[in-house]
């Protein structure tokens, strides 16, 4: 029995009634109200499969690493050069762009153009344009696909992150990592299949982040993201209590299993078998998690590649190295949040700090995966929940939802291309506009899932990650 115990042979677009029927048969009938899809059932096959036993589409990536630049990095200072904006720096921002549009902290203010404070160069054979704040990313220019035409619907951090993760601002909806895990399971049976790490900038621009961003919502809670802690136990309660050595813990866990086994003879309760299995898995996690956090076998060259000063210090660089270790161990969805891109003020001082904290490690991760032959089936996604206004806000920039940039690398994503474009001032995405739902549809497609067929019955409705409106898989980016 595995960590992600799942219903054998269930279909992707589960019809709840038939699902109830299937699971109920396995249960011998219990608390069916609890059953809305979440029963751990029967013996799972090796590995931890999801509900999609047969992929809808060719599988291009087996795992996804999302490098979330939380707070919203400025696109005009990273991947979207705007000479015209620079030219009119300090002048009134043309009202034709902004009339009737939503603003955050700039509400009621006089809007002035703010040109980029950095320069852009062309990099790699592809000649991709990347700002001088990201010299390491420039080195992987030919491996990444830059998307300049992102848009989102939410202008404040908390809802925008929810929208980025779950495609909706309704509460209780699963994050994309949970959807992936639910659909596909993971290739590990001793670690959670969806893991989250956070780091914080030493400069300005950090914003809080909620655990709802990696919640399973209405999906069974075993699909929720597990936050790896930088302090104390990496996973909550994974360490033995003080004064309980491994041999005593083994005695305790064994005895729980034996007594539960005896109870299974007394009670017809299908949960008992699952419970027994979960204790075994818990015990395995108690071993595998410390191993995961043991960086001693990483070479100095690897540490230097990422720019890791002290492994496990909670820095973004260390988290990137951890991401690779998690990917190696078969974790399905890995999400790193760097809290440090909300540059309302002092952008010229703070954005370089955030870039310095992340640039080298992001590039290192791509290079490291590549040299290990893992980039072919791993997707790396870089980006924030929104972008920043081409209008200045004092010494910084405000939140911006009409245009921002992300990049992707790995799987069948074409490297060295730039997709989509914004207008001459970087205000609005105008060419090949990409919504969060399009991005979700694409991530699912890369993983072999047709987003229209991947649904979960909730409150009587077929809910899906991409929502009810039409979404498009970005086929132009894929080879």
């Amino acid at each position: 029995m595995d960590y992600l115990v799942h219903s054998a042979g269930a279909q992707a677009d589960i019809n709840r009634r038939s699902f109830l029927y299937r699971s109920a048969l396995g249960l011998g009938g219990i608390a069916l109200g609890d059953l809305v899809g979440q029963r751990a059932l029967g013996a799972a096959p090796a590995g931890t499969g999801g509900v999609i036993s047969k992929p809808h589409l060719p599988v291009k990536v087996k795992r996804i690493i999302h490098l979330c630049m939380a707070g919203g990095p400025s696109h005009v200072e990273s991947f979207d050069p705007k000479p015209e904006l620079k030219r009119i720096h300090g002048e009134a921002f043309p009202e034709s762009f902004t009339k009737g549009q939503q603003l955050a902290q700039l509400q009621g203010a006089t809007l002035k153009a703010r040109g980029s404070f950095v320069d852009f160069d062309r990099h790699g054979k592809s000649g991709q344009q990347i700002s001088s704040l990201f010299p390491y990313t420039a080195k992987i220019a030919d491996d990444i696909c830059i998307v300049r035409s992102m848009v989102t619907e939410q202008i404040n951090h908390d809802p925008a992150q929810a929208f980025m993760n779950s495609g909706t601002i309704l509460k209780g909806r699963p994050s994309m990592g949970s959807w992936m895990l639910y659909g596909l399971g993971a290739e590990t049976n001793s670690l959670p299949g969806f893991i989250v790490l956070t780091s914080q900038t030493k400069g300005g621009g950090a914003q809080p982040i909620s655990s709802r961003q990696w919640a399973a919502g209405f999906l069974p809670s075993k699909y929720q993201g597990v936050l790896l802690q930088s302090r104390g136990d990496a996973v909550h309660y994974v360490g033995n209590p003080e004064g309980v050595c491994q041999s005593v813990q083994r005695l305790v866990v064994d005895e729980i299993g034996q007594l539960n086994g005896l109870a299974a003879k007394e009670h017809v309760d299908p949960e008992l078998q699952t419970r027994i299995a979960q204790y075994e898995l818990a015990f395995r996690m108690q071993t595998s998690v410390p191993d995961l956090a043991d960086f001693s076998k990483e070479t100095q060259a690897t540490l230097d590649l990422y720019g890791v000063k002290q492994p496990g210090d909670g820095s973004f660089a260390s988290n990137c190295l951890m991401a690779r270790r998690l990917a190696e161990r078969g974790v399905r969805f890995i999400q790193l949040y760097h809290r440090g891109w909300d540059h309302h003020g002092d952008i010229e001082k703070n954005m370089p700090i955030s870039a310095l904290e992340t640039d080298q490690a992001c590039a290192a991760l791509v290079m490291d995966l590549k040299q290990r032959g893992m980039l072919d089936d791993t997707l790396v996604l870089w980006g924030g929940e929104f972008g920043r206004t081409p209008m200045g806000q004092g010494s910084g920039r405000d939140h911006h939802i009409n245009a921002f940039s992300i990049w992707m690398a790995g799987g069948s994503v074409k490297g060295g291309i730039t997709y989509g474009a914004t207008d001459e001032l970087g205000y609005r995405s105008v060419e090949n506009v990409v919504s969060m739902h399009d991005l979700h549809a694409t991530l699912l497609a890369l993983s072999g899932i047709d987003h229209t067929r991947f649904t979960y019955k909730f409150q009587g409705l077929d809910a899906r990650l991409t929502g009810v409106e039409k979404s498009t898989v970005l086929k132009a980016l894929l080879s």
Binding site: Q105, H236, L259
Partner: protein
């Protein structure tokens, strides 16, 4: 068991018509009744709703081919193509049948791109239904419940009440016997966990076992219904739908003062407040005539939306979010209907329109609130000027709390005991008393006010007024720039004890008689020093109180005292404060006491206050009530306390006393702020927002209206109010509320609801397994005055409830989900009860009712991603650590990991159905969370200290009874004895480990017990706390 899992294909193979009997296998409530006549609501509507309504239902914007199948008259008309979907009595002529049987991918329905297919059984049912004339029924939940007489049974032997008649009638129809009654041990444990969320104690088990009267069971039911823990158990479910949490949820996720509402809910269940009143007070208590504080507290319900104070957030957008939250909550809680999708478009399956959504929202347009709970320059909110992230979320009122009053009395008792037991030599007490009395003769108010020796006067050195202004070259008089700095004073007190310092701020004529130079309020920091032989040493302050001040807040709570900063309160009157020294000071001849007053920030120290005076006192501030010193030397108890505080004698006792004092002060004289609903005079204008877009103002204006597909409130006035809505909710016009509430209640006692999804009774929900029973209970509930305890009593007295929870292997195929209820269902305990149960078993549980949120142990750093303000988590000290989980601090963005692991919702949104997972995190929690380790250790110590059980076997018997309400089976007993031996050997080999283990948790392990033995038993108790049976209600 595995073989059952791979059966999906069997479903198609086994269904045959016309007998339809084999539909049984499909497991749904509908097919269970398939051998009875076809009924639209039970058999047909679910098929149409699932497969057809999306394109041929109520949502006009997505309707295809002009065909509507949810209304019979429409379905009988020709569609755009001219074909008729339903020809009553003639399946072959019906286009619906042709299309569903078509093999042409262009023709077949449902179309391939929908990824939906009809099973052969469903096709057969549809054909048969059309053959029978295609009769429709209004959706069951939208027609008023009607009470029918309970059916007569051939064999009524196991019928105890109407519940059993309905349940057993269905069993009898299939020749299935109900299960026998569970054994007494199991029954009492079930009843206790279901009614109070706590296991029966050994003495309760014994009393029940000894009671052989026919009323024995009833007596237990009555005892448990009367227990104050009944309210706690019932409250958890309600708090889920009410989305009750201690923090606001968005962005900074700051604290909100709402726990008085939680206590109100518990108290309401305990006093069995009729559910209609319960409803009315929560939705509209403020609109009742002369509302009581309790009725106002109830209106906190409307304020439990998530809230924000994020910079850049737009008030209008968030007001829209808050309204949508209220609509979803009210619809789920009382109507059991999913309104959420109607925020953007008409519901696809039910007759809920966007207009219904916004009209329901319009009832709450009068709720006083702000979109963003602070005032930013770009979005000014005059009433919230000066609000920081530390401020509360108004409007609030202050209410009295029985829990706090009770706690104050407890703390006072402890304070008295500490004073009584402190080491106080009688002679020195007398001497101190005499000196103090003398002092009071000289200084009747308790303060000595020596003349100011030194005054580092701003006026002397830095005040512009004292320096002659110079005329510049241009002849204009130029004031010199004022140098900034703190205001400092020194005084030389007489020799003797000083326990407090008095500080007075005075209006200054130079400031136009204001206290401050600027005339504005300021926050003052006072730091004190003792200067002895020319050397200054800082004086630490324990606490400070002021007669005039403005409140200051820390993450939503008003800070007690002014030691951290003293906010002036705007009046041009003297302000006085008393600063109690951390350690009383013995002043020697020649000592100076110095104060430095500062109002600016640390970088630019300055003082906006110009006139101040300093005094000293041998007394300390009175603990309670009026501002002033405690100079009462007459009361012996007070005298001892004063002596300890004023001399620092017995420092250990003083430290404990100060903790008690702090806790006592935090009870705030037995009152607490609570968020309430206050009606504004001018309700927000409400309009339909096209596609939910708050920036689009083109939608039609709406007034408060109940959903159009249900009967209207009787005698509706011009503009309906929340009170009208609340009364309508519990009126006969509304067919849903009673059913919805009973359906949820049923789930609590039977594991699964009668209609499986308590949050969706619409057409996408499940028809009830026993519709007549649900209606009978709904009518009973309403007719008996919405009496919740009456309904609980009815349910738990039924044989259906009292049956054994052994699932029936022989019914696995016939009734795999136990929808027929031939036995009880086992149920894993809810998150809160898992904690409460472990604490209760161990004996560590603190059964206090109510009060402020408590903080169980939590992994360090769990809140590190929280900001505005940054968060520290301090686990509750003393017995507050061992409170029930319903009182745990509920942080919406980071719910306690133990609660989250066991599926407690974050309560960001209304939840009527918790999930129920079985994960390794649960195992890790029960194994390693210090709460459970400490409980095991405390329990082990209790077992070892019991003089009546001294052998291993006797001790094991006690363990078993505590945790499982039954004796261990011989095989279990043998295994545990063996385990005990192994554990003893382990700890004998590593005695240091035993010491470490016994240190887990805040409660010290008792002395005098063998450490090895205690460690071994602790681990044995860990095993038992982790058993599946321990966390399951059978």
């Amino acid at each position: 068991m595995k073989s059952f899992l791979s059966l999906p294909g069997a479903q198609t193979a086994s269904v045959l018509v016309p007998s339809l009997v084999a539909c049984f296998v499909a497991g749904s409530a509908a097919s269970l009744q398939a051998q009875e006549a076809i009924r639209f609501n039970r058999d047909i509507r679910p098929i149409l709703s699932d497969n057809c309504f999306s394109c041929h239902g109520p949502d006009k914007s997505h309707r295809k081919g002009g065909l509507r199948l949810d209304i019979r008259e429409e379905a009988l008309k020709p569609g755009k193509s001219g074909e008729i979907a339903l020809v009553a009595g003639n399946p072959e002529a019906s286009e619906l049948v042709k299309r569903m049987l078509s093999t042409d991918s262009e023709e077949v329905m449902p179309p391939p791109e929908s990824h939906k297919t009809l099973t052969p059984a469903q096709r057969t049912l549809l054909k048969e239904w059309i053959r029978q004339g295609a009769p429709y029924e209004a959706h069951w939940a939208y027609i008023a419940p009607v009470r029918v007489a309970p059916p007569q049974l051939r064999e009524p032997r196991l019928v105890r009440n109407a519940v059993d008649s309905f349940v057993q009638a269905r069993l009898e129809a299939r020749d299935i016997q109900a299960s026998p009654e569970a054994d007494r041990n199991a029954l009492l444990r079930r009843l206790s966990l279901d009614l109070t969320g706590l296991p029966p104690s050994i003495s309760e088990q014994k009393a029940f076992a000894a009671d052989q009267s026919p009323e024995a069971y009833s007596r237990q039911v009555e005892r448990l219904l009367a227990s104050p823990h009944f309210g706690e158990r019932m409250a958890s479910q309600w708090l889920d739908v009410a989305r009750y949490a201690d923090t606001v949820g968005f962005h900074g996720d700051q604290n909100q003062n709402v726990w008085a509402f939680r206590d109100w809910v518990i108290a309401s269940f305990n006093r069995n407040q009729p559910f209609d009143q319960f409803t009315i007070e929560q939705l509209a208590g403020d609109l009742l005539p002369n509302p009581t504080p309790e009725q106002l507290t109830a209106t906190c319900f409307n304020r439990l939306t998530m809230m924000t104070r994020e910079g850049g957030a737009q008030a209008k957008e968030y007001l829209t979010k808050y309204t949508a939250d209220r609509v979803r909550t009210v619809a789920t809680t009382w109507l059991g209907s999913t309104f959420g999708c109607a925020e953007c478009h008409d519901h696809k399956f039910d007759p809920i329109s966007t207009r219904d959504f916004y009209s329901l929202g319009a009832f709450f347009a009068d709720v006083k609130q702000w979109g963003v709970y602070t005032s930013y320059g770009y979005t000014p909110e005059p009433e919230l000027a000066g609000f920081t992230n530390e401020y509360p979320f108004p409007p609030e009122i202050t209410v009295e709390s029985a829990a706090l009053t009770k706690r104050m009395a407890l703390l006072e008792r402890r304070l008295g005991e500490e004073c009584k037991n402190a080491a106080i030599p009688p002679a020195s007490l007398e001497q101190w008393k005499a000196t103090a009395a003398t002092f009071l003769q000289t200084y009747p108010d308790g303060f000595e006010r020596p003349v100011v020796e030194n005054r580092a006067l701003l006026a002397e050195k830095k005040d512009p007024q004292s320096v002659p202004a110079e005329a510049a070259g241009d002849g204009k008089v130029k004031k010199p720039e004022r140098k900034k700095g703190p205001l400092e004073l020194q005084i030389r007190p007489s020799a003797g004890w000083v326990a407090s310092l008095g500080l007075t701020l005075q209006p200054d004529p130079a400031n136009k008689a204001n206290i401050t130079r600027s005339g504005k309020d300021t926050t003052l920091k006072a730091t004190f020093k003792l200067v002895r032989n020319g050397k200054a040493q800082p004086l630490k302050i324990h606490r400070a109180v002021a007669d005039r001040s403005k409140p200051d807040y820390q993450n939503g709570f008003e800070v007690i005292g002014v030691q951290g900063g003293w906010k002036t309160n705007g009046v041009a009157q003297p302000h006085q404060a008393i600063y109690q020294l951390d350690k009383p000071l013995q002043i020697l001849e020649g000592d100076l006491v110095q104060v430095s007053l500062q109002t600016g920030d640390a970088k630019q120290p300055d003082c906006d206050i110009t006139q101040a005076a300093l005094a000293v006192s041998p007394f300390v501030p009175a603990l309670s009530g009026q501002f002033g010193l405690n100079t009462d030397l007459s009361d012996p108890a007070s005298l001892r306390l004063a002596y300890l505080a004023c001399t620092g004698a017995d420092p250990a006792a003083l430290t404990r006393i100060r903790v008690l004092e702090r806790d006592w002060l935090e009870c705030r004289n037995g009152s607490t702020p609570v968020l309430v609903t206050r009606a504004t005079e001018t309700p927000l204008t409400m309009r339909v927002l096209p596609r939910g877009n708050w920036m689009d103002e083109s939608g039609e204006l709406v007034q408060p209206e109940t959903p159009h597909f249900l009967s209207k409130p009787a005698g509706a006035p011009e503009r309906l109010t929340r009170l009208d809505l609340a009364r309508w909710m519990v009126s006969e016009q509304n067919p849903l509320t009673a059913r919805v509430v009973i359906n949820r209640l049923w789930r609590q006692f039977f594991g699964a609801a009668l209609s499986l999804q308590p949050d969706e009774l619409g057409s996408q929900g499940e028809p009830p397994s026993h519709p007549e029973l649900l209606d009978w209970l709904a009518v009973e509930f309403r007719e008996k005055g919405w009496d919740t305890k009456h309904m609980v009593r009815l349910l738990v007295h039924s044989h259906t409830y009292r049956q054994s929870a052994q699932l029936r292997a022989e019914l696995r195929e016939a009734d795999p989900a136990n929808r027929l209820l031939a036995s009880q269902n086992p149920r894993r305990l809810e998150a809160e009860i898992i904690r409460d149960n472990a604490l209760a078993i161990s004996g560590l549980l603190n059964p206090e009712i109510g009060g402020p949120p408590v903080k169980p142990y939590q992994p360090a750093g769990y809140y590190q991603a929280l900001q505005f303000p940054n968060r520290d988590y301090l686990a509750s000290a003393d017995e507050q650590q061992y409170r029930r989980a319903v009182y745990s601090h509920w942080q919406r963005t980071f719910l306690h990991p133990m609660l989250a692991s066991f599926d407690a919702p974050s309560r960001e949104d209304c939840v009527a159905l918790r999930s129920n997972a079985n994960t390794p995190q649960q195992a890790l929690t029960l194994l390693n969370d210090p709460t459970f380790v400490e409980a095991a250790r405390f329990w082990a110590a209790r077992i070892l200290q019991n003089p009546d059980a001294t052998s291993d076997a006797e001790r094991l018997a006690a363990v078993s009874a505590d945790a499982l309400s039954r004796p261990f089976l011989p095989e279990e007993q043998t295994r545990l004895l063996t385990l005990l031996g192994k554990l003893r050997a382990e700890y004998r080999a590593r005695p240091a480990d035993a010491e470490l283990l016994l240190k887990v948790g805040a409660m010290a392990a008792p002395q005098g017990l063998d450490r090895i033995e205690l460690a071994a038993w602790t681990n044995l108790c860990r095993v038992v706390l982790n058993l599946h049976e321990t966390i399951t209600r059978y």
